[in-house]
Symmetry: C2
Subunit: 203 residues, 2 copies
């Protein structure tokens, strides 16, 4: 088994944090996105979509998509549960993971990809107006996340979950996107300090 990883990219970080929370170690191979290694023929054979992470299994199967990789490990190693326990909590974890992906992680990524000069060769065409259109989307979602975290301690209540991992990675991705950290939202700030203090945050 091998995890194709890139230390600086946000999506592989979701998988690394997840594995650290599970106490699972997987050999990794770096795919240097800075050098466009994800576009190589060798890596395209692993993932035709040319993105990291990807998990190569011993039988040659490949699983891509961070959350699909995480679910695979959740099924093999159910404890601690990071996708919730029982029908309702599992649905709530899925709901918040997707809300955070679509309304925070994705718009932050679009600000980064469409406005950052370093992304000019990666995001073709870079469309500044689309990058700008995503700033208010980030701003609109943060109060919804703040309200949810008021009853904390975690995004989905008492149990740390993959929704927290996704929110942590998305908020930390605001820095390279040159968006101010949203710590005027006091529940987000408190939660962020807590989840960042877990050893997994450094995986």
């Amino acid at each position: 088994m091998k995890l194709y990883d890139f230390a600086r990219a946000p999506n592989p970080r979701r998988v690394r944090i997840f594995l650290a929370e599970k106490g699972i170690t997987v050999p990794t191979e770096q795919v240097d996105l800075g050098a466009m290694e994800q576009k190589s023929a060798a890596y395209t054979a692993v993932n035709p979509l040319q993105r990291v992470p990807a998990l190569l299994l011993d039988d040659g199967s490949v699983i891509t998509e961070s959350i699909a990789i995480c679910r695979y490990f959740e099924a093999l190693n159910p404890e601690p549960a990071l996708f919730g326990v029982g029908p309702l909590e599992q649905a709530v974890v899925e709901m918040w993971t997707r809300r955070i992906e679509q309304n925070l992680f994705f718009p932050v990524s679009q600000v980064f990809r469409h406005l950052h000069p370093a992304m000019k060769e990666m995001e073709i065409p870079q469309i500044a107006a689309w990058g700008e259109a995503n700033r208010p989307r980030v701003a609109a979602f943060l109060p919804i996340l703040e309200r949810q975290l008021e009853s904390g301690p975690f995004v989905c209540g008492a149990r740390y979950s993959v929704a927290d991992i996704t929110a942590l990675v998305a908020i930390d991705f605001m820095k390279p996107a040159k968006l101010a950290a949203p710590f005027e939202h006091t529940s987000i700030a408190k939660w962020h300090a807590q989840v960042s203090a877990r050893p997994s945050a450094h995986a």
Copy 2:
């Protein structure tokens, strides 16, 4: 229990097809997106993100996000399995659902939302250049889906799954987006005819 639905919107259709495949009937209430009912105070109290579908449970809990709603019903009614069986197949269903969402359903939606005159009041700002940038993304993903369907009969192999539902809804959404149906891809065409012939496709 009540499902907030809108007959013409693609995401609620995913849930309706899923429920039909499970043989589950849920009372629905239409939220008229044409009349902007999703922005009303009453509906915002149900889903602060102002989107359909949403599932209201008898205890007052609300689950939003199509796939979260589907997972809730999968957990309560495991048969027929629409999210796969066993760790690897479940991961593969998650992977293909997300690949199709991100590389087909989402770019098709962006062509629709940013280029269709009817969306001018809904998508603010409409950015034609962003709509156009999504056309080649759709075109780039279709051969990847075609290759996957060559070994069919379904997206994830022998078993019909939520990945088929997502692909069907995404491809049918190409019509209002004024994108040509991708039936020059013969495996996609054959698969599309098969899944469209299931009674669930009309749910």
